[in-house]
């Protein structure tokens, strides 16, 4: 299905097209990775609504990104329950191993690091959301393992051991 078809299907759930802006932005962000101006305007055109209505939602709600984010968006919860269970140390660790500060994206565009408000999974604090998935009961070693698996998933294993291995035929 094209983006237009997906948006039109989502809009059928509402008696008013304006209600479909949020679901349309979710669809558009999945399609484009983030929501630059031309995408917002396309959404407005598909739904036949005012562009300003689309802009105001894209900038009000924190899950919408008007700027690009990395392949993996690391969203570490640092609200009270996670803070009490050590999220501060996890943030420091992530900043150290990724070489970036929270809010930034790594130079290879693989990781964007953010802190977020409560993810609603405090029974497994500290928690981090990456893409659609929650990762709970985190500590430094689990965090390292998670980063490794994400790098592997991206097909860009950057560990020293791997880099030192001879290429086939060498």
């Amino acid at each position: 299905m094209s983006m237009r078809e997906k948006i039109e299907q989502a809009a059928a759930a509402y008696p008013d097209q304006r209600s479909a802006i949020m679901p349309a932005l979710v669809i558009a962000q999945k399609e484009h990775g983030h929501l630059p101006g031309p995408v917002l305007e396309e959404v407005a055109d598909i739904l036949g609504v005012e562009r300003i209505w689309v802009y105001e939602l894209a900038t009000f709600y924190t899950l919408f990104h008007t700027e690009p984010v990395g392949t993996f968006h690391l969203q570490l919860c640092d609200n009270v329950s996670c803070m009490l269970c050590g999220s501060e140390n996890l943030l420091k660790h992530l900043e150290t191993v990724l070489g970036i500060k929270k809010g930034d994206t790594t130079a290879d565009r693989l990781f964007t690091l953010s802190t977020v408000e409560c993810l609603g999974a405090c029974e497994m604090a500290p928690v981090m959301q990456v893409g659609d998935d929650y990762h709970g009961n985190l500590d430094v070693s689990r965090l390292d393992a998670l980063l490794d698996s994400l790098r592997a998933a991206a097909g860009r294993v950057t560990g020293v051991e791997h880099a030192a291995q001879p290429l086939p035929g060498e």
Partner: protein, 421 residues
């Protein structure tokens, strides 16, 4: 030994599938109301049960339903508040992920009662797994005739749509949620009119929390007297408690309403971590004023906690032990409210910005004499003067920290450092 009702399917393998739900007696309540009850009789039954809203405010559910006008030209809407953003709360997520049909049956029964043919479930966008499970369950329920047209051979039509939030705590406030559903920025509306009269698209609308709705089918099958027989008379029923923080066994516990907070934390949740002592507990999400250790005998119900100067809220129970700085906890809480303030009204938007600055400097050891009085003044300026309860929650939380742990704030200012670092 209390036998769980709301969570009975949660630990069942594949409990999220329709076949499992039916095997456990699922959809019998819907069958029963469609064949034996008029809508008004369902409203009356819920009134009789004394069910009170589990989202935080504790408003009597049956009474809320009875405010919906009879007849009229406009469609009626049922909205389910599954935005669950109150820090420390995760009960609705677990119901939706592990037992979504419980919510769907509850929506259908409640929709029948208020005369709605359409329900919107407003789920926070982070809950991807819950959204997928609920989508699958809605499709299954349609296939088996529990949703759709002429449900179970009756003349009742009912559809459930999911609306995903996109990261705004304020959407838990019911009128802000309606604004968001209408495709606007989530800012609360002035009341009246109340949603029951003019809510979604200016039509009569009922907004209930996931756990509140989940109680309804059980009230239908087991009776109002059964429900009233659990916990205190004025706020009865089974209750989900979310326990997190510095405690041995964090998790979701279903127990009677009104059990002592101390029993919940020390017996069910295993008590403090080895070598630590409990210093304080936040009983109902971060909007609920903190209770110091000596107050933990309080019962976990709306009235007992209110009498103790706190509130049941969302029953997000956050345990804080003696290794933790309360100034830091209070600062983090006010940072949260400041971040989530929708910006509509001045006391909340500006007052919280100011409070965060003062709290951060105290925690950093740069507090000045007069800072605590300034925080007291800010709480006074915010509380009762805002559009919605977000500002009140922030002010109540900060006031309680200043009242019960004032000596920690004073020590920060006098010593010029955080004594816990």
């Amino acid at each position: 030994m209390y036998e769980p009702v709301l969570l009975k399917n949660v630990e069942v393998t594949n409990g999220h599938l329709l076949s499992s739900y039916e095997a456990g007696g699922g959809y019998q309540a819907l069958r029963k109301v469609l064949s034996e009850y008029t809508p008004d009789e369902v409203v009356e039954l819920v009134k009789q049960s004394n069910l009170r809203g589990r989202g935080g405010a504790g408003f009597p559910t049956g009474m809320k339903w009875s405010f919906v006008p009879k007849g009229g030209d406009k469609p009626k809407y049922l909205c389910c508040n599954a935005d669950e953003g109150e820090p420390g709360t995760f009960k609705d997520r677990i119901i939706m992920e592990r037992d979504p049909h419980q919510l769907i049956e509850a929506l259908a029964v409640s929709g029948y009662a208020i005369g709605a043919e359409t329900a919107y479930v407003y789920i926070r966008g982070e809950y991807v797994a819950a959204i997928r499970r609920l989508e699958q369950a809605i499709a299954e329920a349609h296939e088996r005739g529990y949703l759709g047209k002429g449900i179970l051979g009756s003349d009742f039509n009912f559809t459930v749509h999911i609306h995903c939030g996109a990261g705004a705590y304020i959407c838990g406030e019911e009128t802000a949620m309606l604004e968001s559903l209408e495709g606007k920025r989530a800012q609360p509306r002035l009341k009246p009119p109340f949603p029951a009269v003019a809510g979604l698209y200016a039509s009569p609308t009922v907004i209930n929390n996931v756990e509140t709705l989940a109680c309804v089918p059980h009230i239908v099958t087991r009776g109002a007297a059964w429900f009233r027989g659990i916990g205190p008379d004025k706020s009865p029923g089974p209750k989900l408690y979310c326990v997190s923080g510095q405690v041995k066994k964090p998790g979701l516990y279903e127990l009677p309403m009104g059990i002592p907070l101390k029993e919940l934390v020390e017996e069910h949740a295993g008590g403090p971590l080895p070598g630590r002592k409990i210093k304080a507990v936040i009983p109902g999400g971060v909007s609920a004023p903190v209770i110091p250790e000596h107050g933990l005998e309080v019962g976990m119900d709306f009235d007992s906690l209110s009498a103790a100067g706190s509130m049941l809220g969302s029953a997000g129970v956050i345990v804080v032990d003696d290794s933790t700085c309360m100034v830091k906890v209070a600062t983090r809480i006010i940072e949260f409210f400041h971040h989530e303030s929708c910006g509509k009204c001045t006391p909340c938007r500006e007052g919280l910005n100011w409070a965060v600055k003062v709290l951060r400097r105290i925690e950093a050891g740069e507090g000045a004499p007069g800072d605590l009085e300034q925080l007291d003044m800010l709480c006074k300026g915010i509380f009762g003067n805002t559009f919605c309860a977000l500002g009140d929650g922030a002010a109540m939380g900060l006031r309680a920290a200043l009242k019960h742990f004032r000596e920690e704030f004073v020590a920060h200012i006098e010593e010029g450092r955080c004594p816990f670092h």
